[in-house]
């Protein structure tokens, strides 16, 4: 929770000293009921009171997360008694308080019990403890030896400058690398417009989004920002919303929101794009069309339909509509669509955007988006070769994990073994660190200084939010010390990175001109606000001209795979694999399959049927790269001739949580790079599939895929929006009724959830874990239906006339006014509060579990065991929320701790709680603002207005439980079958499968 104004860490020392003390006491205070160390009967005061901290209250520090998925996020680290207990989006950021699931889980990355606790040295086959002095000395000597390579994540800002200077100073090569990089996109834009840039995709302004595979709502470019833009573009209350067409072999998280799906064969997105571009050009017949006539000529609908497996008719309709659109936009293939000819695909999409007039209107090169440059995959492959040929003396790996993220078939890990000195600066004992000779563990982002340009002209500043948990050091400080030993100290004025950073910012400050504040004030403001907006240089023509190279580009025909074509895709929870060490992410139900703690192979029913394969059966997938045996997931959102596997699992190191889960999809890739951009081909490899006949284990958190027309998940056609309401949701009766809340209470807390805006990204779920001390129970217990998540996102299929549409349904306690769970409790542990909440009093609960039986929404969770929070994970626990122990029922409380705090604040100021003053954790972190919380008794509150909207409905309304949560129906352009809400003919057959999970 954010206590009013944000503090900055004046001079780091005060907090350090006090943390020395409070670190311990804090642990106890938080670990209340859950076992781990408690200060028990001791009261530990400060030694010296820090100026900016009141014990027992939260202080937020603005800082920067660059490692949480594809986009950098400025966050507020909420610190209680010296421990970061919660991350929230920086309200002043463009994405507001929104965060991604991965970003929330950065806390568990910080408190990972298996982080490297201190410097390590390889002795024989084991890594043994050593001192920083020895480690630095050894590293320095190694660097002095020359032929050094420094591997880091890409960066813009001081870090980039520092690494370059450092590399120059010690005569090393700096290779910034990002596994799921954007090299193909950059290259394509280079070819098309001679621009080395990443454009901004303003889908919020578009009326027809045509996506060629980019999972822009999950894992591509900027999911949080794109989510917000998408929701804006899909705001359906006025009966209009952007049409969304998805082209590609597999429906990704983003694909699930699409109105229509053109299942093009993997690699043939290029052709689809070109064919449509050709049609659009034919219709537009303007200058731009003429420019590309030649290059598009060969790609007629018929020809393309032939090789893509999409009916020409559909293509024609699509082209028709796309050409007619006011502000069309075509999104590139992203990672999952990144084949052996990635640049071609990107370029094809660019041509389509070009002819459709999107360039310069919905796609802008003068937009906010900036992404650091990095070396392509090909360069890394080459590095591997040079290493194995012994050209490299020393490799310093800081913050990347090539030993895992490079396809095994390239033998990068083996090559590492061939390097005399491998020095890892990773905070985690990941695969690369495991292969290192020395580990000099660096701080976690939340413990470190740093900065970075997160959007054009905005320089974000990162400050340590807490005292390091382990004996680690600032990554750049280590490099400085190493440089010093290597005799390159004089290259730097600053002795530590904080000094260096301030130096860089001094320069920035210098540019501001006369009327600027003093550096101190400016710097402190930057620290407290999380960054500074700088003047943006003029970027020239927003709609640059197409180059001749692009106009005469020769597109290669994609090779048709013999058997199956394989698609490997990153997931929201693991991304490139960095999420695998976090329990929250392992237990995070995959946004598409709802599988947990594992990796799987997605197979179309028509393919699985003949093989007799059902979800959970083990199948073997073999490619040129290798072969894996894994449980199948029968998924209708994929082409019958395509197999899809998620990236990010199958770690051999990286901590207890990650090791030995699922398989590493990269083992299936032979590492063929795209010729032009040097990017790795994540899709398009040809694979063979064999059923092993054995039963594997795949835990799916969704019992049944259809809501059987039970008024649970609702989908309507865009034309029905104005008259969508089945029956008036009469707020007056809803909240005035005495039994919903005390007539004299000014509050009836309620929520509205817009299913149309909800993209199923799951940020809310993880936010809830971190706010409410939810335990993680592990794969087995999940399989037994004993998960503890207070909030789950159900993924229900709704039939449309020529397909199906997924509705993501965030399910949490509905805080019913007429709650079935309450009267059955023999001890009043479940009861109704005067403000309309369903109280659940943990210490009163005796565990009859009657309430859970009687809850129609099945949102109550029972503590079947007492779950452990191994140190230091317990440091993350929120002291404002009781940690529950065995035998107790628990559930969502609408973050009552926040409600109570807000009420206290309001009382202090002699006023009522203002609308929007209370944000539940889920609402706070929702990128699309699908969740709105507030006071239903205030007719002017946002939630009241939303709930009155025409799309509002109450889940399982016929039970008359009078939920405080109003769902807003999801809206699609697709035609819906008469009367049905999507049970279709599936009812019987699917109802059968349900129990077998």
């Amino acid at each position: 929770m954010n206590d009013g104004d944000v503090k900055y860490s004046g001079n780091g020392t005060t907090r350090r000293d006090f943390v020395k003390v409070m670190g311990v006491a804090g642990a106890g205070a938080a670990a209340a009921a859950c076992g781990p160390p408690d200060t028990g009967d001791k009261l530990i005061p400060y030694l010296i009171p820090p100026d900016d901290i009141v014990p027992g209250t939260n202080v937020s520090y603005a800082t920067l997360l660059t490692g949480a998925g594809p986009e950098p996020l400025t966050v507020h680290a909420s610190v209680r008694d010296g421990r970061v207990i919660k991350l929230e989006g920086n309200p002043s950021a463009r994405t507001g308080t929104a965060l991604s699931a991965m970003a929330h889980s950065a806390l568990q990355d910080l408190y990972d019990p298996d982080r490297v606790p201190g410097p390590r040295q390889r002795a024989a086959d084991a890594l043994v403890e050593t001192t920083w002095e020895d480690a630095i000395a050894a590293a320095g000597a190694a660097v002095a030896g020359g032929a050094t390579v420094l591997l880091t994540p890409p960066a813009i800002g001081s870090a980039a400058r520092f690494y370059q200077e450092w590399a120059d100073a010690v005569g090393a090569t700096w290779m910034p690398w990002e596994p799921l990089g954007l090299e193909a996109l950059r290259t394509a834009h280079g070819i098309a417009f001679g621009l080395d840039a990443i454009p901004t995709y303003e889908i919020n302004r578009s009326d027809h989004i045509l996506c060629f595979g980019a999972d822009f709502l999950g894992t591509w470019l900027a999911p949080v920002e794109m989510g917000a833009r998408f929701a804006a573009g899909r705001f359906a209350d006025h009966g209009v919303q952007a049409r969304f067409t998805f082209v590609g072999p597999r429906l990704s998280l983003s694909g699930l929101k699409a109105d229509e799906w053109l299942p093009a064969r993997a690699g043939t997105e290029t052709l689809v794009a070109l064919a449509i571009a050709r049609e659009v050009a034919a219709r537009k017949a303007d200058g731009r069309a003429a420019r590309v006539e030649g290059v598009l000529a060969p790609f007629t609908l018929e020809a393309v339909a032939e090789s893509t497996g999409v009916e020409a008719g559909k293509l024609a309709d699509l082209a028709e509509h796309f050409a007619a659109a006011q502000a069309p936009i075509a999104l590139p293939p992203g990672i999952a669509g990144q084949g052996p000819a990635a640049t071609d695909t990107h370029l094809a999409v660019i041509l389509l955007n070009y002819v459709a007039g999107a360039i310069g209107s919905t796609i802008r090169f003068d937009g906010e988006t900036v992404r650091p440059r990095h070396v392509p995959f090909a360069a890394m492959a080459d590095l591997g070769r040079r290493m194995s040929e012994g050209e490299i003396q020393t490799v310093i790996v800081a913050g990347v994990n090539p030993a895992y993220a490079m396809p095994a078939s390239l033998g990068f890990a083996e090559a590492l073994a061939n390097v005399p000195n491998v020095i890892s600066l990773s905070p985690h004992a990941d695969e690369t660190a495991a292969a290192a000779d020395w580990i000099l563990p660096s701080h976690h982002e939340l413990e470190a200084w740093g900065d970075g340009m997160i959007s054009r002209g905005y320089m974000a500043l990162a400050q340590p939010a807490m005292q390091p948990v382990f004996d680690t050091r600032q990554r750049e400080d280590i490099l400085l010390q190493v440089a010093a030993v290597a005799g390159a100290a004089e290259a730097f004025q600053a002795t530590d990175y904080r000094g260096y950073l301030q130096g860089v910012w001094q320069d920035l400050h210098g540019r501001l001109g006369a009327e600027a504040p003093t550096f101190e004030d400016w710097w402190h403001r930057a620290l407290s606000e999380g960054g500074i907006a700088l003047a943006v240089p003029d970027l020239g023509d927003p709609a640059p001209a197409l180059t001749a190279a692009a106009a005469n580009y020769s597109f290669r025909a994609p090779a048709a795979p013999e058997d199956f074509s394989l698609v490997t895709f990153p997931t929201v929870q693991f991304y490139d694999g960095r999420g695998a060490n976090r329990q929250w992410m392992q237990e995070f139900p995959d946004t598409v399959t709802k599988a947990v703690w594992n990796a799987w192979v997605e197979i179309h029913p028509e393919t699985a049927g003949p093989l007799g394969v059902e979800t959970g059966d083990l199948v073997q997938v073999t490619t040129a790269g290798g072969s894996v045996t894994a449980p199948a997931y029968v998924y209708k959102g994929i082409r019958p001739d395509t197999l899809a596997v998620p990236l990010g699992q199958g770690h051999t190191a990286y901590g207890r949580t990650a090791v030995g889960r699922g398989f590493n999809a990269l083992d299936l890739l032979d590492g063929t790079p795209d010729q032009r951009s040097g990017s790795l081909a994540y899709s398009g490899a040809s694979a063979t599939l064999t059923a092993t006949g054995r039963r594997g284990k795949l835990v799916i958190m969704q019992g049944h895929d259809y809501d059987l027309d039970r008024e649970i998940a609702e989908l309507i056609n865009i034309h029905d929006v104005p008259n969508a309401m089945e029956h008036e949701i009469d707020l007056t009766t809803l909240v005035e009724a005495a039994f919903d809340s005390d007539p004299q209470s000014p509050y009836r807390w309620g929520m509205s959830i817009d299913l149309n805006a909800c993209t199923g990204c799951g940020a809310c779920v993880t936010a809830c874990y971190s706010e409410n001390n939810l335990p993680v129970v592990g794969e087995d217990l999940c399989g037994q239906g004993r998960e503890m998540s207070w909030m789950q996102i159900m993924r229900y299929w709704e039939e449309t006339e020529d397909g199906y549409h997924a509705v993501h349904l965030p399910t949490l306690c509905q805080q019913c006014g007429d709650a079935p769970c309450e009267p059955v409790c023999p001890v009043y542990a479940a009861y109704h509060t005067p403000e309309g909440l369903n109280g659940q009093i943990y210490n009163r609960c005796v565990g009859t579990r009657y309430c859970a039986n009687n809850c129609p929404y099945k949102v109550r969770r029972f503590n079947w065991f007492t779950y452990e929070f191994p140190y230091p994970l317990n440091l993350q626990l929120n002291p404002d929320v009781t940690v529950r122990s065995k035998g107790v029922m628990e559930k969502c409380t609408f973050c009552v701790q926040r409600i109570n705090k807000a009420k206290l604040d309001a009382k202090d100021e002699g006023r009522l709680v203002a609308d929007g003053e209370i944000q539940t954790a889920c609402m706070q972190s929702c990128p699309t603002q699908a969740i709105v919380f507030g006071n239903l008794k205030d007719p002017a509150s946002r939630v009241s207005r939303k709930a009155k909207g025409s799309r509002g409905y109450a889940m399982l309304d016929e039970l008359n439980t009078r939920p405080a949560i109003t769902y807003l129906k999801s809206v699609t352009h697709a035609a819906l079958p008469e009367g049905a809400h999507g049970t279709g003919g599936e009812h019987e057959e699917t109802a059968e499968q349900a129990p077998e999970h």
Binding site: G703, L708, Y850, K858, F862, L956
Partner: protein
């Protein structure tokens, strides 16, 4: 009492003294097998005790139950035993009120069964409690928390109903025992005499005492009858008060009561047949009695069968797709096995009782009664588990399979029940001597001249 309809063969009619001797014989005679059985029961109880201890240490997770299916074998077995508990007081009270003399020879056994069954059933609400060490939160007593139990909760009703039922049954049973205890007091010497003497409260059989005695006995029979009906109704409301499709039904109270009587009678038969054989009480418990019980069994079986049918009819008649889906799945889904076992044991098998030959063959009767016991356990399983496993929110559907802990404790509960029953059979007259004498006396009077 009108006893004319009793057709005990006048030939070889035991004398009153015979009655004393025969009925109290087992108490003095030693049986090797008896101690063996007692030992086995003890061992099983110990095993269950260990299982429970482990569950308390680790948490309810030791049982197989999960989120949608929060109640499993524990509650199933609880309802099962409450059901068993019913025939006892029913036979005693109701048959007493309607003056069916044939109850005489079995009421003692049946009442004992009631008491032990309630003692067994009463354990399960505790065993299934997540935090059993806080069970006293359910007890209404003035505490520093100033909090009281929620009397709107069916679970609290349950507590009161079961408690009352146990107490009243105990009084009823003990009252019936007093004269017989006096008999034993006069029969034995030494410590036994002292013990039986103490418990017989110095009963002399004075006619004045008999007057008060008969009056109270009548009252107890009177109040016990509505009590019997109320108790299992309350138990059924544990479910019927819920919104769960498959539970939320108005026929539950009569349905459960009938089921309870059904299972109770079955258990009486299951127990009396070996008892009669072991203690050689053929003279007192005759095929006539079994024939009557068999008829009652058949009748209740028909009611139960009707209830099964009616549940489906109502599901269809309600036209509620959720209800319909729930019942469709019950018969064809993951738990179709238990469902059809239930139907076979409770509806099909008892139909053989239409034939007098079956009713009069003790072997057949024994087998059938065992089938019914099994079937009734499965009935509760089907009602509780399948309903919960297939509720409103399809994405929450999840099946449940019992864990070893649960099964151990369930088996233990049977051991616990028979343990007490064995103790009873060895220390107290299993047939009401006084009442038997009453009948014999009248027989002699009539048969005499």
């Amino acid at each position: 009492m009108a006893t004319a309809e009793i057709e005990v063969p006048s030939e070889g009619l035991p004398s009153l003294a015979d009655a004393n001797r025969d009925i109290s014989r087992p108490i003095s005679t030693p049986y090797k097998r008896y101690w063996l059985l007692l030992g086995i029961c003890g061992a099983l109880i110990a095993a269950a005790g260990i299982a429970w201890t482990i569950q308390i240490r680790d948490g309810m997770g030791r049982a197989g139950i999960n989120n949608p299916v929060n109640w499993g074998v524990y509650i199933v077995t609880f309802v099962f035993w409450v059901g068993i508990a019913h025939s006892g007081t029913l036979i005693s009270a109701v048959l007493y009120l309607v003056r069916s003399g044939w109850r005489t020879t079995i009421n003692r056994t049946a009442e004992a069964m009631t008491i032990f069954a309630v003692m067994t059933a009463g354990l399960f609400p505790l065993i299934h409690l997540g935090r059993v060490w806080y069970f006293y939160y359910l007890v209404p007593y003035p505490s520093t928390r100033l909090l009281w139990p929620n009397f709107r909760s069916p679970l609290v009703w349950d507590m009161f109903a079961i408690g009352t039922y146990f107490t009243i049954s105990l009084v009823f049973w003990y009252l019936g025992l007093i004269p017989d205890l006096a008999v034993l007091r006069d029969k034995f010497t030494g410590i036994k005499k002292k013990l039986y003497g103490a418990f017989s409260l110095g009963w002399t059989g004075s006619v004045r005492d008999w007057a008060h005695y008969r009056r109270l006995y009548l009252y107890l029979a009177g109040i016990a009858t509505p009590l019997v009906l109320s108790v299992h109704s309350v138990v059924s409301w544990d479910f019927a008060m819920g919104v769960v499709p498959g539970w939320h039904s108005t026929i539950f109270a009569p349905y459960f009561v009938a089921g309870a009587i059904f299972s109770g009678i079955a258990m009486v038969i299951t127990i009396t047949i070996p008892l009669r054989w072991a203690f050689g009480l053929d003279k007192y418990i005759t095929t006539y009695h079994f024939d009557n019980m068999a008829k009652l069994l058949l009748f209740t079986s028909l009611i139960v069968g009707y209830a099964y049918g009616m549940e489906y009819f109502l599901a269809w008649f309600s036209a509620d797709p959720i209800e319909m889906e729930s019942f469709r799945w019950r018969a064809s889904g993951f738990y179709r096995g238990p469902f059809w076992i239930m139907v076979f044991c409770n509806v099909v098998v008892p139909m053989s009782l239409w034939f007098k030959r079956t009713r009069n063959s003790l072997k057949a009767l024994f087998v059938i009664s065992v089938f019914v016991n099994i079937g009734m356990w499965y009935e509760r399983f089907v009602i509780i588990v399948t309903s919960l496993a297939h509720e409103f929110d399809p994405s929450a559907w999840q099946v449940y399979t019992p864990s070893l802990t649960e099964l151990t404790i369930m088996v233990g509960s049977f051991a616990w029940f028979f343990f007490w029953f064995l103790l009873f059979a060895k220390t107290l007259p299993v047939i009401s001597i006084a009442e038997v004498k009453e009948h014999l006396a009248h027989e002699h009077e009539h048969g005499g001249h």
